[in-house]
Symmetry: none
Subunit: 122 residues, 4 copies
């Protein structure tokens, strides 16, 4: 379900939180749905429970989750406007930065289009 990059310099709790956030926006996990327990998830992705705890806790502080003592963590209802924002503020800039790098490496638009063709999207 989740894949953390061991090598990355980005903290694991941050990687995990980002992935969860994506799943929420994308509605793979829906509002008021229960997340896996800290212990279960930590076992599944082979990291320390404390780290999972930190991800959940951070998402709770940011309003993406809420917790019920003794029961677990649940997805909070989300503001759908945020999706547009995230696309504009995160996805798009990252895309342009990547294309800029591709340009530096001497890639042509044609080659990028070829890559794009290889992906199923619609």
């Amino acid at each position: 379900m989740f894949r953390l990059d061991e090598q990355s310099k980005i903290p694991k709790y941050e990687q995990l939180a980002e992935e969860i956030k994506d799943l929420i926006f994308v509605k793979v996990i829906n509002s008021n749905e229960k997340l896996p327990s800290i212990r279960a998830l930590s076992k599944e992705i082979m990291i320390n429970p404390n780290t999972v705890q930190k991800s959940y806790h951070q998402l709770e502080n940011q309003g993406y989750l809420y917790s019920i003592k003794g029961k677990g963590y649940y997805v909070a209802p989300i503001d759908m406007n945020q999706i547009e924002q995230r696309i504009e503020n995160e996805l798009k800039p990252e895309f342009f930065r990547l294309l800029q790098r591709a340009k530096h490496f001497g890639l042509s638009k044609k080659e990028i289009l070829e890559w794009l063709r290889q992906v199923e999207l619609d």
Copy 2:
């Protein structure tokens, strides 16, 4: 010349090293050309000299730079084959990962193509 993302969880020295590596591959800085001194660069991008040094030092260990004490850091002659490798190992996977995320967010190929159109590349 360089722009570091203060917010990013990726260490500054790592961000900087990556940017320098790109400039070397792209031949904005050529072999045996001198890099800005540690202090000059640290002042310019407003970070601690130590952090710049760590970037330079890492690149030296990886063979991208060589240093002369009391004189400065210089670009080492590079193996151009590595460019192909970096495109395959870094750029392409990052591109696909990004498209995957875009898909999750419900973006269509058409929208991506629109973004692509906005970029000067060829």
Copy 3:
């Protein structure tokens, strides 16, 4: 337990490492015995945890200690032959250098013997 000379130009981490090494040779701390935690020791001798860590790390590289992540640093089994070597290579030369200086300052053997008398040794 340890006393660092703040004034000395010798790095603190070096002073500390030397003192620890002595304690190990002298078996004040025995093989596989746990050292104080980095933070406990740093608090005790009022220096930055990083400095203690550097001492421990250096001793680990030299084979005097081994570490277990999340548990602590431990004394490695030592080769007792090294004691003789250290006496010959460190203690004795230092002693002779000191006597040489004493001579320059016009001290006589008698005065040195007087100093020696003041120390409990046997």
Copy 4:
């Protein structure tokens, strides 16, 4: 004339200054006698002129030397009382510390006396 320890963590300018100070106290170099020029000395002991300069400068600040522009550095008249002080404050404590270490290493007074016998002192 001087011997610096390349390995030592003590700064070279400090090592040199200490040695010069000793020679002054011990009257190997007398009051108002001229010291070797910075360039000559730096060549002799194979270190950078700047480093010698720093030693001389420090000794001047501490009152052990005075300089005459265009001529060189000279030994200042010294207060002989300082010799006693240096013996008490430097030599003696260092001696006791060394004996303490010797004790830790299991050396007996007899062995120290044997060492002492090997040195010409009187």
